[in-house]
């Protein structure tokens, strides 16, 4: 899997299969503060990821 962490502008390659929540725990990222996007879709914490996936992890912003 390839995970792009937007805040740090880094790509991480890792062997991973599990939920979005599991991935964020493994990357030591607070799941409450980010959205995970795969194939132009925002995922929820319980969506399942496979080892082939490419995801982008973006900080949530709620300014108005």
């Amino acid at each position: 899997m390839e995970a792009y962490i937007e805040k740090d502008d880094i790509k991480k390659k890792l062997k991973f299969r599990g939920t979005v929540l599991d991935l964020l725990k493994r990357l030591d990222i607070n799941p409450a503060g980010v959205n995970v996007i795969r194939d132009r879709e925002m995922l929820s914490n319980d969506d399942v990821l496979s080892d082939d996936d490419v995801v982008s992890i973006q900080e949530i912003f709620m300014g108005g």
């Binding site: 503060g33 959205n35 879709e41 925002m42 929820s44 900080e59 912003f61 709620m62 300014g63 108005g64």
Partner: protein
């Protein structure tokens, strides 16, 4: 008050648009509520007022501060310390004296969101600056089957998505699926915001709102922009 111009004179440049068709009469009978009069809400209010929506209700809980002035286009230096809802109503009347306009100085939360019902809104524009109020708007609109247009901006980025509860249960659940339980760690105080970014978000938000009010289909995707990178993306919603 004597009408200075006929509706035809005022709106003829947008009424001939082939993309919209003449939707002026239809939108002119609708009521839009704007919750939050910050960077996005100010420009969204200006655009809807000038478009000729039938009635506009502007809602905010706050006063104008000096750090608002670089991006919140309804306020001037002389307005610092004044209530935003009242100042916004004054400026919007200057822009369009024929507009039916009301202002509401409240903090929209679970116990107050029901007050929006007395205006019988055809659409609610979410221009607030926190998830908690957005959740209230989402719940209120879902229960009342009221379309609403989510918007958010920070830094050089922004997001917009029109949610139509009466049309699709999938889109109705979109906000809940993606944002419930989340917390925005970054905000305008610690990250900053480019004035053009939030005003671009307003332009997209109002365009989506006009589509909804005129009975046309808004984008089904979440529209994400980064004005610094000149990027616009559409994410599945």
């Amino acid at each position: 008050m004597k009408m200075l111009y006929t509706p035809y004179q005022r709106y003829k440049r947008q009424a001939i648009l082939k993309e919209t068709g003449n939707i002026q009469d239809r939108v002119g009978k609708k009521t839009a509520v704007i919750v939050g009069l910050g960077g996005i809400g100010c420009m969204s209010a200006v655009l809807l007022a000038r478009f000729g929506v039938g009635k506009l209700v502007v809602v905010d809980r706050d006063s104008v501060s000096v750090s608002n002035l670089h991006r919140q286009v309804l306020y001037s230096e002389k307005d610092i310390g004044k209530r935003k809802a009242k100042v916004a109503a004054r400026e919007l009347r200057r822009a369009n004296s024929e507009l039916k306009l009301e202002s509401l100085d409240i903090d929209v939360c679970r116990s107050t969101v029901g007050q929006l019902g007395r205006f019988s809104p055809d659409i609610i524009l979410d221009c607030v600056d926190n998830i908690e109020t957005r959740i209230c708007i989402d719940e209120y609109c879902t229960n009342g089957k009221i379309p609403w247009v989510f918007s958010s901006a920070l830094g050089t980025k922004g997001m917009v998505h029109a949610v139509i509860p009466s049309v699709s249960s999938v889109r109705e659940g979109w906000f809940r699926k993606v944002f419930y339980g989340k917390k925005a760690v970054i905000n305008a105080k610690n990250t900053g915001i480019l004035n053009s970014a939030c005003n671009l978000v307003s332009c997209i938000q109002v365009t989506e709102a006009i589509k909804v009010l005129s009975g046309k289909r808004p984008a089904s995707e979440l529209i994400v922009i980064d004005i610094w990178k000149n990027e616009i993306r559409k994410l599945k919603a």
